[in-house]
């Protein structure tokens, strides 16, 4: 059964390489985009931390800034 799925009557190499290429492309794109996201978020947190109290409270009035800081997304 397993060898049938792996060999696929001689087409296994083509079928598995097509699926593997697809999954590797998915994983690569996911990690590239995730790295960019984490980098920008960390930059934001660092910049926000460097603000003095007056500017920080001004920045906190914007709902999106608060959401970025409290973002629970683990992507």
């Amino acid at each position: 059964m397993i060898s049938e799925i792996l060999l696929m009557n001689g087409y296994g190499l083509y079928v598995w390489s097509a699926f593997l290429f697809t999954l590797i492309s998915f994983a690569s794109l996911y990690f590239v985009v995730k790295t960019q996201y984490v980098k920008e978020r960390n930059k934001f947190i660092a910049k926000f931390g460097a603000l003095n109290s007056e500017r920080a409270s001004l920045a906190e009035t914007q709902s999106m800034n608060k959401e970025i800081l409290s973002s629970t997304s683990n992507i």
Partner: protein, 235 residues
């Protein structure tokens, strides 16, 4: 109506959504892979090589769909001056490009056992390659131009020119003699594909659509945070 497309309103949804989309993607992809690689039957002519269809066809569909959507958003965004539509388009482009590349590479792999060649300059394959070049130009435009107005204009021109190629891709198999078979799935007429193959194809399409949604959400959130980073600099 367009006030609902303001980044502040959208971010409250897009920042929470990726985790759920990722989970759903894994579930649908697992079912799709089992259906495509194990349960679906082999083709009476192509044998097991037909299974490549389950990654090749959804990739081609989604890359065409995303390019059409990018063009629509760019035109509407330019006419009504909605900058956020350009941001949405920019966030959609990476997954569209990757799906285009996957369609080309898996098509090439499928071509070897079916046609006896990795590549042929036939109308369908060549027009898909041209679409990949338009995607590449679009992505490069965002890197090259720093001025917002210039990048909006450049990406609009690229998408409007590129969209001419989309119906050519769709009808190339009808207009010219190509190695590609005519479409097996038709919305308005009866499809020639059997339900036992259509079902896994639809599941894989759903999985790929979820993946492009996931990438879009992550990229869009990144772009919004980038804008907010610039906003903090100006405080």
């Amino acid at each position: 109506m367009f006030k609902y497309f303001e980044p502040n309103k959208i971010f409250s949804i897009t920042s929470k959504a990726p985790n759920y989309v990722l989970l759903l993607f894994f579930i649908v992809l697992s079912i799709g892979l089992f259906e495509a690689l194990v349960f679906s039957p082999e083709d009476y002519k192509q044998g097991d090589s037909v299974r490549i269809m389950y990654v090749h066809v959804p990739s081609a569909w989604i890359s065409l769909g995303i390019f059409s959507l990018i063009t629509f958003l760019s035109i509407v965004g330019y006419i009504f001056k909605i900058k956020n539509f350009f941001l949405i388009s920019k966030s959609l482009a990476p997954s569209g490009f990757i799906f285009n590349i996957i369609a080309l590479v898996t098509g090439s792999i499928w071509g070897r056992p079916t046609w006896g060649t990795w590549w042929a300059w036939d109308a369908r394959i060549t027009s898909m390659l041209i679409l990949a070049l338009f995607y590449l130009l679009y992505l490069l435009a965002w890197r090259i131009f720093n001025d917002k107005d210039k990048v909006f204009k450049a990406t609009l021109i690229i998408t409007v020119l590129g969209i001419i190629n989309v119906p050519i891709i769709k009808y190339s198999v009808d207009w010219w003699n190509t190695l590609h078979q005519p479409a097996s799935i038709n919305i308005f007429t009866k499809s020639s594909i059997d339900i036992s193959m259509l079902f896994p194809l639809m599941i894989m399409t759903a999985a790929f659509a979820l993946f492009s949604l996931l990438i879009f959400l992550m990229k869009y959130n990144t772009e919004l945070i980038k804008i907010k980073n610039k906003g903090l600099d100006r405080l």
